[in-house]
């Protein structure tokens, strides 16, 4: 593959601290790739390496098929010669230049076409009336859009975004996110974006690379990442989950929803079953028939919290469905149901788990 960005077997250390341990990623042209992971997992360092702001210590970096960084030979093409755009988390707008000058900063020759592009971009991003303003008078969202235009203005082949929406308040974030995504899709540029917000990654990305502790733990489409997580860590990125631990017997693990088949783990090995909070359905009463026989149990509501778009329920269930509910043998399920649901405390309910939202992993 000759287009986009390819980073191969990257290792990087700051002093004695190893932040990247043999990381390989690809960001294809015309696609949006997300680096998803908690703070300190090395994703921003990876971005800075791609931009040439950090020198490659070990591994190779290709841009559009051209080798731009090689740890072995010490090759490190200067950032200004790479043809990449980088948008910083703090936007890094130049305070002494106005909006127009900021955007035009990276354009080599300001032809009528490029001027028209800037004008259209300002209009499109809703900051046209601020073209002569200085950055400090703009709101966070406006600064974000100016920074995006500035990074795109020199027509880079690859655009790197470092936590592009983290500086915005939650109410503005969704809208800015959508505007940005549409704009990027129109530009057709290869995008590598860093985020710690799984919802953002799900919304924006064509391809998600999950990182943890300087390593890639999973790479795939958003659907693959959400429905086929390779580890408990990846599964839990999308929110806290219900954990059931035990020892595998006859290829199964006992859970409150009944025995869950785990063919991949040998008998006698410790294992865990994780169930998403939103993967559990609740209906009032004890005699409802669930769509699946295997994953059903009955319990009592302990607490209910209204969260607005959804409701959070604590439900007391027996450790295994065959046992009755008693004090020393119960477990609290955390359940997230859409909309408003506010049963009385102590009300009897039937709960069943969506098998697609249940995952089993070895317990190490």
């Amino acid at each position: 593959m000759t287009t986009g960005l390819r980073m191969e077997r990257i290792r990087h250390a700051f002093g004695a601290t190893e932040v990247l341990k043999d990381v390989s990623i690809v960001a294809e042209a015309g696609k949006l790739t997300c680096l998803l992971g908690p703070s300190g997992c090395g994703k921003t360092t990876l971005l800075r390496l791609a931009a040439g702001l950090e020198k490659v210590q070990d591994g190779r970096i290709y841009l559009q098929g051209r080798l731009v960084g090689d740890g072995k030979t010490g090759l490190c093409l200067a950032p200004e010669k790479r043809g990449i755009g980088l948008m910083f988390q703090d936007y890094a707008l130049f305070p002494h230049l106005n909006v127009y000058e900021n955007i035009a900063f990276g354009i080599k020759s300001l032809t009528p076409e490029r001027r028209a592009w800037i004008d259209a971009g300002l209009e499109r991003m809703g900051v046209a009336k601020h073209r002569n303003s200085y950055p400090h008078v703009l709101s966070g969202g406006q600064q974000q859009r100016v920074a995006l235009l500035r990074a795109l203005a020199p027509e880079p082949e690859i655009l790197l975004l470092d936590e592009p929406f983290s500086g915005l308040d939650v109410t503005r974030r969704a809208q800015v996110r959508e505007d940005t995504l549409n704009f990027l899709k129109e530009c057709g540029v290869a995008v590598l974006m860093v985020t710690h917000d799984p919802e953002e990654a799900m919304f924006m990305a064509d391809h998600i690379v999950v990182m943890k502790g300087g390593k890639v733990v999973q790479a795939g489409t958003p659907v693959q990442t959400y429905f086929h997580p390779v580890s408990a860590f990846v599964a839990e990125l999308f929110g806290a989950m219900n954990h059931f631990e035990g020892v595998v017997e006859k290829g199964q693990l006992e859970t409150p929803f009944g025995p869950f088949p785990i063919p991949s783990i040998a008998d006698g090995e410790p294992a865990q079953v994780l169930v998403r909070m939103e993967g559990i359905n609740v209906s009032m009463g004890t005699h409802h028939t669930a769509p699946t026989e295997c994953c059903t149990t009955v319990g009592h509501v302990v607490d209910t919290y209204l969260l607005g778009r959804s409701s959070h329920l604590h439900i007391r269930v027996p450790r295994t469905p065959s046992q009755g509910l008693s004090d020393d043998n119960e477990i609290i399920l955390h359940v997230r149901v859409p909309g408003v649901m506010k049963p009385e405390s102590g009300a009897a309910v039937t709960v069943w788990a969506d098998p697609k939202q249940v995952f089993a992993f070895a317990l190490s």
């Binding site: 931009a51 950032p79 707008l93 002494h96 020199p154």
Partner: protein
């Protein structure tokens, strides 16, 4: 402490036998440059120990501002009698230290300005301005160069070199002057010897006792002022600014020109001002390194004061003070205007221009 070690004019006038005065005494009155150099070396050792102790004392300190904006300190309202006392406590040092001397000098100047002018006052002023201007320009260029190299951080040895170059301010002027004098003498002799041997021409003394020598001395001594000011100015510009400019296609020099210099305007003006003012009043190095019959305002005042002709030198003394104060006032007005206004110029002004007083941190 360093400032006192450096001082020559005051102790000489009041005939206090300090180390600095001793160096001059040995050299000028006993006619023993090597003896003076020995004394200078001892003083240098003392200074080095002092610096080492200071570095050691705050080796673990780091200064970080938790927020980007400094919060205004809460006001504290004093009752009327306390307020009067506070006002007096603040006013007395200013009045005794500046007001009274300025008034005395002012009245002297009014009565004796003709004598001062007759003593070639304008030439001295020109000399002072020339030296101070030259030194300020060179130290700024060097200071920006050093601070920016340090920021780019690509050459490892530059760190040590820069720290060493910025040590000059800690070295007392008398010690520096003697060091430079001996070094330039050696350089001149070497060049002269080489020229005689190879071309058959005697070049004589090229650097010793020239304006170049004095300027060199000023630059060595005051480089740390400009470097420190530029460095702290640069430190306020986040590394992401460099990153943004570089990824937008600007090379390191272009980034310096288009990003750092415009944003550093305030720091650079402050640095230039500091060096300029310090050079205007510099005495020990000027006395030692200047060419024959070359007087600056400072050497002129010192000369006349030593000869009990203080009133005749009052105008020159005031001129030095004015050279220090007028630029500060002008700068403060510029800054105040930039902050208060809401014009586009206000927007272009850097967020924070340090006042010279804040910046003195040798």
């Amino acid at each position: 402490m360093m400032e006192t070690l450096n001082d020559f004019g005051t102790v000489d006038f009041f005939a206090v036998a300090t180390f600095t005065a001793g160096i001059f005494d040995v050299w000028l009155n006993m006619n023993s440059p090597s003896g003076a150099a020995q004394l200078a070396c001892m003083m240098m050792m003392f200074v080095i120990v002092l610096i080492a102790l200071e570095r050691y004392g705050r080796r673990k300190q780091k200064f970080h501002n938790a927020t980007t904006h400094n919060r205004a300190l809460p006001g504290f309202k004093l009752s009327a009698p306390l307020a009067t006392l506070a006002f007096l406590a603040c006013a007395v040092p200013v009045a005794l230290g500046f007001g009274v001397p300025a008034w005395v000098l002012g009245s002297y100047a009014l009565n004796f300005y003709e004598e001062t002018l007759a003593a070639d006052f304008w030439t001295f002023t020109f000399n002072s301005l020339l030296l101070a201007g030259l030194a300020a320009t060179i130290t700024i260029v060097l200071g920006v160069f050093l601070a920016y190299s340090l920021r780019l951080g690509q050459v490892r040895w530059i760190n040590g070199v820069t720290r060493f170059a910025a040590l000059g301010y800690a070295v007392p002027g008398a010690v520096l002057a003697i060091g430079i004098l001996m070094y330039l003498g050696w350089l001149d002799n070497t060049i002269d010897g080489w020229a005689r041997g190879h071309i058959g021409i005697s070049t004589g003394l090229i650097f010793s006792g020239t304006v170049i020598a004095v300027t060199f001395g000023y630059v060595v001594r005051f480089l740390s002022l400009s470097f420190g000011s530029v460095e702290s100015g640069l430190a306020k510009i986040t590394a992401n600014m460099d990153g943004a400019a570089r990824t937008l296609g600007a090379g390191p020099m272009s980034t310096l020109k288009r990003i750092h210099l415009p944003m550093l305007k305030g720091s650079i003006m402050t640095a230039a001002l500091l060096v300029f003012v310090d050079c205007m009043k510099e005495l020990p190095m000027t006395v030692v390194l200047r060419p024959f019959n070359f007087e600056t305002l400072a050497t002129f005042v010192h000369q006349y004061a030593s000869d009990e002709l203080l009133p005749e030198a009052a105008l020159a003394a005031l001129a030095i003070v004015a050279a220090g104060i007028i630029p500060v006032v002008l700068l403060s007005i510029t800054i105040a205007h930039a902050r208060a206004g809401h014009t586009q110029h206000a927007d272009t002004a850097p967020q924070h221009i340090p006042t010279p007083i804040q910046e003195v941190s040798p």
